[in-house]
Each structure stands twice: as C-alpha cells, then as structure tokens.
Symmetry: C2
Subunit: 236 residues, 2 copies
C-alpha cells in the first residue's frame, strides 16, 4: 500500500492526534454517560479550545462515527475465527466478546445504535459472521438472514441492558443490577399483573449473562432447525 503522503504540507505541527480525541471522548463517556462527550468537554480534556477539535473531525457526528468504528475494531476475532471449534461455540464466543467489549463502555452504546454501523470494522465483523454461518452449513441467503438475526439480538440485548441503567458511569456488577431489578419487580401489583409479579425473579435476570446465552442458544436452535440436515463438522 502507498505511504500515506505525510509531512510535506506547510503549517504548524498538530498538537494532537485523532486518537487522542477519541480517547478523551471515550473517557468522558465512561465517566458521565452518553451526553458527557460534548465537543467542549473533549476539547477541555485534551487541553485545546473547543473549536480546535474541528481541525481533526469535520463535526461531532464524525467523532461519534470514528469512535464507534474504534470500538468495533477492538473486538478480538481470534476467538471465533478458529474453524476447528464447533460453530455454535464460535458464535457464542463472538456474542460474548461483543457484549463484553460494548458493556465496558455503556455510555457509548446509545451512539452505536444511534446510526448505521457501516464502517470497515463493522463490515469485517459481518464478513466473519457470514463465514462462520457458511461453515455451519447454511446457504448464503440463510447465512445472511441468520447473521442479521444474531446482530439484532446482540445489539438489542445490550441496548436494553444499558437502557435499564438508572445513572451514567461504569456498569455495576451484574448481581447488583439484578438485585435492583428484583426490588423493582417485587413491587409489581399482583392483582393487575399476576404473571409479571410471579415471574419477578426471572425478569430481574433478564440482563444476566445466563439469559443472554439462553436466548442466543434458542436462536441457534431455531436457525439450525430451519436448514436441511447438516453434519456438525461441516468444516471447509
């Protein structure tokens, strides 16, 4: 690939890099939630005037877009690229990896689902998922459909999980969040919502990893049931 044509232009050296700005944005998001990453706050974090940020990104939407791309790029492909593993296990590894990476930055999740994920890293993840489902024996159309089903599930789960948080900041431990939910659900009036009241414990666990895997496995069951019979080790 060509050398990226640098350093030949006049003008003072940049005091920052795009990455530093994205670092600052992510730090602010982690500390203060989705609204904390204002252009002014980012600028203050990196020590420049607010409008200096526009030297690096044309507008705030571009910052968000770049940040989303960076987060998707942090997903470790190694776990589920290994074709020697059973494909269902590879899907689970991908789903868990994505959930872990994204829930590490709950403030960024609204930004992820606030726009199309069409950057290079998003495409790369899509490509890997299509490969994986092809390995599972699905034809290209079913593989595409199944991949979107999985994408909807992963991002939908995380979005609802984050939406449940009462305040910004890092994600509290799962057990703590479940306890909070249980308190809320046990207050449900049983005379109006008998089944909801009876299912309070199960509903408190909606945001758990266990429920996440349960749902994922039900979907994989449904996906495999729909295809014609195929061996588990479809391989290459």
């Amino acid at each position: 690939m060509p050398v990226p044509a640098q350093r030949t232009r006049p003008g003072p050296r940049r005091a920052l890099t795009e990455d530093q700005i994205l670092d600052a944005a992510l730090t602010l998001l982690d500390a203060g939630g989705a609204n904390a990453a204002s252009v002014r706050a980012i600028a203050a974090q990196v020590g420049v005037a607010p409008n200096a940020v526009y030297t690096y990104f044309p507008d705030k939407a571009a910052i968000v877009k770049a940040l989303v791309e960076r987060l998707l790029g942090q997903v470790d492909h190694g776990v589920f690229i290994d074709r020697d593993q059973p494909w269902r296990q590879r899907v689970e590894a991908l789903a868990l990896e994505l959930r872990e990476r994204l829930s590490a930055h709950p403030g960024a999740v609204p930004l992820l689902i606030g726009g199309p994920m069409d950057g290079p890293h998003a495409l790369a993840l899509n490509e890997r998922l299509l490969e994986l489902l092809a390995d599972a024996g699905l034809n290209p159309t079913d593989a595409a459909r199944a991949s979107y089903l999985l994408i909807v599930y992963v991002f939908g789960s995380i979005a609802l999980e984050v939406a449940d948080l009462p305040q910004p900041g890092p994600l509290p431990p799962e057990s703590e969040r479940i306890d909070t939910r249980l308190d809320a659900f046990t207050a449900t009036p049983a005379e109006h919502y008998p089944r909801t009241a009876a299912a309070a414990a199960a509903m408190a666990g909606y945001i758990s990893t266990e429920q996440y895997l349960w749902g994922l496995r039900r979907m994989l069951d449904g996906i495999t049931a729909s295809t014609t019979a195929h061996t588990e080790a479809a391989g290459v």
Copy 2:
C-alpha cells in the same frame, strides 16, 4: 375507582392538557426526528412560553416517559389476546402490530430504547406476552425468558431499522429503503469482503418485513424445540 379530585383548587384554568403537549411532541418528532421535540418547540407548537410546559410535566424526561407510555398504549391487544388462534400466530400478530405502531413514529424510537419501559402499558404488554407463552405450554421460567427474547428482537429490529435512516421524517416505503441499501451494499469492495459483497441483496432486505418474520419464526422454532413436547392446542 375514585373520582380524581378535580376543580376544587384556586388558580386560573389550564390553557392546555397533558395530551395536547404529547400530541405536539409527537408531531414534532414525526416531522423532524428525535431531536426536534425540544421543550421550546413543543411550547411554540401549543402556543405558550417554553417554561409553561413545566406546569404539566416536571421536566423533559417526564414528557418522554409519558410519550413512550402513550405509544405502547396504542398497541391493539385484540389481535393476539384471542386464545382460539394458534399461539405462534398470536405472537406474530403482536410482533407485527408493535412494529407497525412504532415504525409509524421513527423519531420516537430512540426515546423508547433510551430508557426503561416500565410504565403500566409496558407492564400490560409484558403480562399479555407471558399469558400467551403460558398458553403455548411453556413453564413460567421459560415463558419469562422467551418473552424477553422476543422483546429484545422486536425492539432491536426496530432500533436498527430506524438507525439506518439517513434523515428524519416519516419512514419511506420499504421498497425504497431496500433499494437505497442495495446501492450502498453493491459498492462493497468484493476483494476485502467477498461474502458481504455476494450477500448484498440479502443484506439490503434486512429491514424488510420478510426478514423480520423470518427471524421471528426462527426464534419461535428455537423456543419450542427447547421445551418438552407439547400439543399445539395447549389451550387453557
């Protein structure tokens, strides 16, 4: 129920109702997207000073919450409450009804998934869904888990569908949006993303009702496969 203790207090009559404010908010959302429903714009729409809105709602978050509740309340229960229908058909009816109601107001969708849906209408929908899955023969725990799986799918689908829109305003026809997506996906470089490029047509249809139902049915397949054998007409 008790008469809501009205009209006995001093002070001038209100010029508006809460409903008028929610109407105005929804109109603005429909026309200009999620950010168009500012307190000032709502106030202008109903013809009062911006801070007069705070007579009816304590803050903007309360307006959003009430609006979400109203939208969930518009879901027609009649379609899927009918126990004479096969349960899978009832689930599909619910899923389609919800999607139709919400995609009528794409600008409101980010508000829906931006916070917990814990109002009375949300609880009522949850209750109905638990009933439905109990009718399907699922035990309470599985019914609860399956209901959350379905909720994640429905709201995740709609969220991703809305996130794909390039501009605010009413949802263009499905065919038009698919065409736009197809144009984008056919531009995918096949040398880097061969499977994505090959699946362009299927991926363009991710936002279609067909894909929505396909995914829903795969999930129902998976849910039923996981439970012990049960007759289709589990009934009461």
